[in-house]
Structure formats: structure tokens, C-alpha cells
């Protein structure tokens, strides 16, 4: 049991769960009025990008993968969130 708790994967999970709660609290607090809020949107999208890459890197084991897989998955996260934030800011 102690080995499971000390496993690096469990530590990654604890971080992911913690930032999920933080994201929800940001949306509940700053976004309670359900009005456009660039701070809330930027924060939750950046947190989602980091979470997605943490899952890809640690759980999907891309950290041990060849460079083409690291580049493709990293490019997807970077490209997607750049586009999402660009479309969001362009529409304001």
C-alpha cells in the first residue's frame, strides 16, 4: 500500500485531482456570474492543457517514447490550446 502511495504515478494523479478541484473552484468563484471572464477562461484552459499533457506524458508513457511520438502529442496539445485561446480572444 505504501509502495502504491509513493509510486510516482500516484503523485501525478494527486496533482491532477488537485488541479481539477482548483479549476472547478475558479469557475465557481470567478465565473459564478456567467459572464465573459478572460482570466477564468485563460486559467482553466491552461490548466486543462497541462493536465492533458501530464496524462499523455506519464500515464500514456510518452516520456519513454520515440521523439516522433513526443513531438506529435506535444504538437497536438500546443496547437489545440493555441487555436482555442486565439479563437476565444479574437471573438471578444
Amino acid at each position: 500500500m505504501t509502495a502504491l502511495i509513493r509510486n510516482p504515478l500516484t503523485i501525478v494523479w494527486a496533482l491532477l485531482a488537485a488541479v481539477t478541484i482548483v479549476s472547478s473552484l475558479i469557475a465557481l468563484d470567478g465565473g459564478a456570474a456567467h459572464q465573459i471572464n478572460t482570466t477564468v477562461t485563460t486559467a482553466v484552459l491552461l490548466i486543462a492543457a497541462v493536465k492533458a499533457y501530464m496524462v499523455i506524458w506519464h500515464f500514456m508513457e510518452v516520456r519513454r517514447a520515440p521523439i516522433w511520438l513526443k513531438a506529435t502529442t506535444g504538437g497536438w496539445v500546443l496547437g489545440l490550446f493555441t487555436l482555442l485561446l486565439s479563437f476565444y480572444y479574437a471573438s471578444l
Binding site: 459572464q35 465573459i36 471572464n37 477564468v40 496524462v55 511520438l69 502529442t73 479563437f87 476565444y88
Partner: protein
């Protein structure tokens, strides 16, 4: 003797050899092509959602207010926890610890199965209150994207059952099959993390 007593049986490590210079592709390469293709397809939906949201912020913000953020957040933690146990189970299978691998995949299956159940608790009250895909563009995107994701979850749960069968009945479990199934399940998790931010959290 000790190994047998502890349920440690060597699996067939038919995954690609771990060359430190070239790296190791977890599971079957064809699954990675599928995963990357799926990520790109969902990426197009996500960007499309953001484009149409930009055309009518007010409608999307008002519609978003009617979603159940609590269930969305709990479901996110359910999928993350399921993914953790899949990763831990894969690690155990690779180490030849079949008992630990089986336990961890059963736990992963339980957390994964909680996702569609909670989704029903979310969808049914929404549909009963008249929120359907025809209500407006936000709810069309909401039901289509979460519905397609739910189909992926269902397929992932079936794959996990096959992994459990492979671990339970094979004399020498195929590690690459375990890795391939795990890769798919983690992709389902990644897609939900983006959906959760877009549909429930952003303002």
C-alpha cells in the same frame, strides 16, 4: 516457488524492445495512429465549438449555467482515478505481477464504469427539463461531443474486460495487448479533460 505463491508469473513481453536511444512505443503502433487520428478529429470539434461560441457568447454562457458542474468535476476525478489504476496495472503486468495487475484493472474498471452511470444522472434531469440537442447550438454541441465521448468510454470498458480476461486466463499475458488497451483508455481521459474545460469551466 515464491513467485508462484505471490502470483508473479512472467507475461509475454511482446511489446517493442526498449532501446534507450529510439524509445519505446507503448502497445501497438496502429493504436497510436488511431489515437492521433481521434485526437485530431476531436480537436476539430473543439475548435469548431470555440468558433461558434465566439459568434454568440451570451447564449453559450446562459446555457452553460444550466449544466451540473459538480457531476462534471466528479466524473473528471473518476476518469483520472481509473486512468491511474490502468497505468499501475500496466506497470504490474509488465513486472509479471499478475495478481496486482488484475486487482488494479478491476479497480480501474469500477471507476470507469461509474462515469456513464453519473452521466445518466446528469443527462436525465437535463432532458426532463427540456434541454435537448434541439434546444440551441450549445446543447447540440454538448450532447454530440459528450455522446461521442461516452461511446469511446463504452468501448474502453469493453477493451478493459478483454484485458482482464487476458490477464486472468492466459498462461502468459500479452503485455503489448495490455499497453494497447491502456493507451486507448488514457486517450478517453485526455479528451474528457478538454471537454470539461470547454463545456463546464470556461467563461
Amino acid at each position: 516457488m515464491t513467485n508462484v505463491a505471490e502470483g508473479v508469473t512472467p507475461g509475454v513481453d511482446n511489446s517493442r524492445p526498449d532501446d534507450s536511444r529510439r524509445g519505446h512505443v507503448p502497445g501497438d503502433s496502429s493504436m497510436w495512429f488511431f489515437v492521433i487520428g481521434d485526437l485530431v478529429i476531436f480537436g476539430v470539434y473543439f475548435v469548431g465549438y470555440m468558433y461558434f461560441r465566439g459568434q454568440n457568447h451570451e447564449l453559450f454562457l446562459q446555457s452553460q449555467a444550466r449544466l451540473n458542474l459538480d457531476i462534471g468535476a466528479i466524473n473528471t476525478v473518476m476518469l483520472l482515478t481509473s486512468s491511474l489504476f490502468v497505468a499501475l496495472g500496466t506497470e504490474a503486468a509488465r513486472a509479471g505481477n499478475r495478481v496486482a495487475a488484475l486487482q488494479r484493472f478491476w479497480i480501474a474498471l469500477a471507476f470507469g464504469a461509474a462515469f456513464p452511470l453519473l452521466k445518466m444522472f446528469e443527462w436525465i434531469p437535463e432532458i426532463c427539463s427540456g434541454l435537448t440537442p434541439g434546444t440551441n447550438l450549445f446543447f447540440m454541441y454538448y450532447y454530440v461531443m459528450t455522446g461521442m465521448h461516452l461511446c469511446h468510454v463504452a468501448l474502453g470498458l469493453v477493451i478493459m474486460c478483454f484485458i482482464l480476461r487476458n490477464l486472468r486466463t492466459s498462461k502468459a499475458p500479452k503485455i503489448s495487448f495490455v499497453e494497447t488497451g491502456a493507451t486507448y483508455w488514457h486517450m478517453v481521459d485526455v479528451l474528457w479533460l478538454v471537454l470539461f474545460a470547454l463545456l463546464y469551466l470556461m467563461r
